[in-house]
C-alpha cells in the first residue's frame, strides 16, 4: 500500500521539506481561521471572498515588477490589491446608490478578470521564472521551502498575535460599534487593523490554498466552530483546530500526489467537517434536534397511555383493574403498534405490570397518570379564566400543554387558580394527598 507508507512517512516528519510544508500550513490555517471568526461575526464573509479574488492581480504585478517569484514581492502586491478591493467596496457603498452585495460582486469579478489577464500576459512572455505561477490559483502546498516558511509562517504569526493583542477591541467593534465609539475607542483604527489582518491572512494562503478558495479557509472553520459553542474563546480555538486539521490533510495530499492542487482538498476536508457538525453538533445539530423530537414523542405516548389507564380507573372506580389493549383503544384512538411499543416502555419502567395479555397500573404509574389528568384539567380552567377561551375549545390545547408543565409551574397554576376542584367540563381535578 503506497498510500499507507506515505502517511507514515508524512506523519513522522522525517524529511525537512515535509516539516516546512506541515508547519507552514498549520500556521496559515490557524491564522486564517481565527481572523475568519471576526469576519464571520462582523458579517463580512462575502468581502473576504472579494479580497481573495482581488489578490490575484497583485500577485501578478509583484511578479512582473520583480521578475521572480520572490514571496515578498508577491505578498506585497497581493496585500495592495486585496486592501484596494476593501477600499473600493467601502467607497462605492458610501458614495453611490449601489448596495454592498452588488459592490462586492462587481469588485470581485473586475479584480479577478484583471488578474487572469495579467497571468496570461506573463505566461506568454516567455519568462522562464513564471512556471508554477498558475499554482497560485488553487494552491500547491508541497512547493513550500524553508525560506517560504519564514515569510508565510512569520506573517501568519503576525496575524495570530494581532488577534491576541487586540482581542478586546475586536470583540467590542464586532458586537456593538456604537458603544465602542462612545467609550472613545478609535474605531477607524481598529477596523483598519482588522482589514489589514484579514488581507494578510488571505494573502499568505496563495501558495498553499490558492486565491480562489482562500475565502473558504477563513469562513468555513468559523461557521463550523459556531455550531459547537456559544463562547467566543472556544469558537476561536475550535476554528483554529478545524483549520489546522484540514491544512495538514491538504498538505498530505499535495505531498503524495504531484499534480494535485492543495486548496480544493483542504476545502473538501473542512466542508466534510462542517457537514458533520451540522448533523452531529450538540443542541444545534440535526441529530440532536431529531433526538429531542423523538424524546418528546416518547414522553407524549407514555403520558397518554398512563392518562388512559387513570381515566378508565376513574370511570369504573377501580384504578388497579386489569386492562386489555382493546380497553385502552376504546377510550382513546391509539395506533395499535405505537400503543404496544408504549406499553413495553412503561412495563420496563414499572409504571404498569404486564400479566398475560392484560396490563395493570402500578402505584407509580397511577401517580403519573393522575398528575397528567390534573394538569390537563387545571390548564383547561386556566385557559377559560385567564384567556377567556370557550369551554369547548380548551381541550386540544391542554392535550399538548399537559406534557410540558414543570412541577414549579404546576404549583403556580394550583395557587393562581386557588386549588379548584372542577375543570370547565365539571370533571373532578384530582389532588394526591
Amino acid at each position: 500500500m503506497i498510500a499507507f507508507e506515505n502517511i507514515i512517512d508524512f506523519l513522522s516528519l522525517k524529511e525537512a521539506n515535509v516539516r516546512y510544508v506541515v508547519l507552514g500550513t498549520i500556521l496559515l490555517s490557524i491564522a486564517s481561521s481565527v481572523i475568519g471568526c471576526f469576519a464571520l461575526l462582523r458579517k463580512r464573509a462575502l468581502i473576504v471572498d472579494s479580497i481573495s479574488h482581488s489578490i490575484l492581480p497583485g500577485v501578478c504585478m509583484g511578479f512582473m515588477i520583480s521578475g521572480t517569484k520572490d514571496p515578498l514581492f508577491l505578498l506585497g502586491g497581493a496585500m495592495l490589491t486585496g486592501w484596494l478591493s476593501i477600499y473600493f467596496i467601502d467607497i462605492i457603498t458610501r458614495y453611490s446608490k449601489i448596495k454592498a452585495d452588488t459592490a462586492i460582486g462587481l469588485n470581485l469579478s473586475v479584480f479577478f478578470a484583471v488578474g487572469i489577464l495579467l497571468l496570461t500576459i506573463i505566461q506568454n512572455s516567455g519568462n522562464p521564472n513564471q512556471s508554477g505561477l498558475s499554482d497560485f490559483l488553487f494552491g500547491k502546498a508541497a512547493t513550500m521551502v524553508e525560506s517560504d516558511l519564514y515569510t508565510f509562517g512569520g506573517m501568519a504569526l503576525l496575524v495570530i498575535s494581532g488577534v491576541v493583542l487586540f482581542y478586546k477591541q475586536f470583540v467590542l467593534v464586532s458586537f456593538d460599534m456604537n458603544f465602542a465609539k462612545t467609550i472613545g475607542l478609535n474605531i477607524k483604527f481598529y477596523e483598519f487593523i482588522l482589514s489589514i489582518l484579514t488581507v494578510m491572512a488571505v494573502a499568505i494562503g496563495i501558495q498553499t490554498v490558492g486565491v480562489v478558495l482562500m475565502a473558504a479557509m477563513l469562513i468555513t472553520p468559523a461557521a463550523t466552530a459556531r455550531y459547537w459553542t456559544d463562547n467566543l474563546n472556544k469558537m476561536l480555538v475550535i476554528a483554529a483546530l478545524i483549520g489546522a486539521l484540514s491544512g495538514i490533510a491538504g498538505a498530505f495530499v499535495s505531498y503524495s500526489y504531484e499534480n494535485m492542487p492543495t486548496g480544493p482538498w483542504i476545502v473538501i476536508v473542512f466542508s466534510v467537517i462542517a457537514m458533520l457538525s451540522m448533523v452531529f453538533a450538540p443542541k444545534k445539530g440535526i441529530v440532536s434536534k431529531w433526538l429531542r423530537q423523538k424524546r418528546n414523542s416518547h414522553k407524549m405516548m407514555e403520558d397518554n397511555i398512563l392518562k388512559a389507564f387513570y381515566r378508565l380507573g376513574e370511570k369504573e372506580g377501580d384504578f388497579y383493574k386489569k386492562r386489555t389493549v382493546e380497553d385502552l383503544m376504546n377510550l382513546r384512538k391509539f395506533e395499535r403498534n405505537k400503543l404496544l411499543t408504549g406499553l413495553k416502555w412503561l412495563s420496563a419502567e414499572n409504571t404498569i405490570v404486564h400479566i398475560n395479555n392484560t396490563y395493570v397500573l402500578s402505584k407509580k404509574g397511577k401517580a403519573i397518570g393522575e398528575r397528567i389528568v390534573k394538569i390537563h384539567r387545571l390548564w383547561e380552567l386556566y385557559l377559560k379564566i385567564y384567556l377567556r377561551v370557550a369551554d369547548d375549545h380548551v381541550h386540544d390545547d391542554a392535550e399538548t400543554i399537559e406534557h410540558i408543565i414543570t412541577p414549579e409551574l404546576e404549583l403556580l397554576l394550583e395557587k393562581q387558580l386557588d386549588y379548584p376542584t372542577e375543570d370547565p367540563h365539571h370533571q373532578k381535578i384530582p389532588y394526591s394527598k
Binding site: L41, K43, L165, K168, Q169, V171, L172, S174, F175, D176, N178, F179, K181, T182, I183, G184, L185, N186, R226, T229, D230, N231, L232, M235
Partner: protein, 262 residues
Amino acid sequence: MIIHAENPIIEVHDLTVSYNNKPVLWNVDFTLPAGQMIGIIGPNGAGKSTLLKSLMNLIPNNSGYIKLFNDDLNKVRHKISYVPQRESVDWDFPASVMDIALMGRYKPGNIFKRFTSEDKDIAADCLKRVKMLDYAKRQISQLSGGQQQRAFLARALAQQADLYLMDEPFAGVDASTEKSIIELFLSMKEEGKTILVVHHDLQSAADYFNWILLINTRLVASGPTSKIFTPEMLRETYGGKLTVLTKVGEIIAETQFPIREQ
C-alpha cells in the same frame, strides 16, 4: 416654550443634523439640568434617537455645537454612558450576559489589560441590580427582549457614569420589566445621576420624567414636565410636520444643496 436650565449638564446650540442631506433635526437649541429624569418625547421619525446619537458624536452634524458637563465630549466621555437601541446589535453573538456587563468596564486606557477581580465584582453587582445575576452565564441569544435590555443596562451601570443616555429602553419589554427599569432609574436619580431617555409613550411620560423635551424635527418645547406637558404643546408636537419646513427639507435633499454656506 423653551425653558433653560441653570448650570446645565447638557447644552445644545443651534444643532442641525441630516441623513442623506435631508435634515432630521433642525436648529435645535436647549439646555438640560443635572440630576433629573429627562424624557425626549415625539412621534416616529421626529429625530429622537438622532439627537442622542448627535450628543455622543456618533453621527456628524451640519451646524451647531454641543457641550456636556460644560466641556468637550472627548474630555468627559468617562462620565457618560450611552445605551443604544436593543435591535442595533446582533444578539446571536457568541457572548454571555456576564461578557456584556463586563464590556462596561472597558476603557481606552485599560483595554490591553485583562479584567481585574474588581471589574468582575462591579459587573456582578450591576447584574444583581438589574436582577440578571442568575442569568450571568446564559448565552445572550437565549434572552427575552426585556432580559436583553437589562443586560444592556447592566453594562451601562458598570460604566459608573454620571450621565446616562438611553435610546428607547422600554421598547418591546413587558410591563413588569418596564416597572423594574423605572425603579432602577429612580434609584440612579437618587444617587445624583442624570438620565436622558428616548420615550414614545405619552401615557407614562408625565409620571416618569420631571423634565421633558418635545421634538418633531424641530424643538417644540423643553422644560419641567408640569409646565411643558400640556395638551396644547402635545398637539403642536404630534400635529404633524410643518409643511413649509418639510418641503424645504425635500428640496435640500433633492438638490443636494449644502445645509450651511461654508
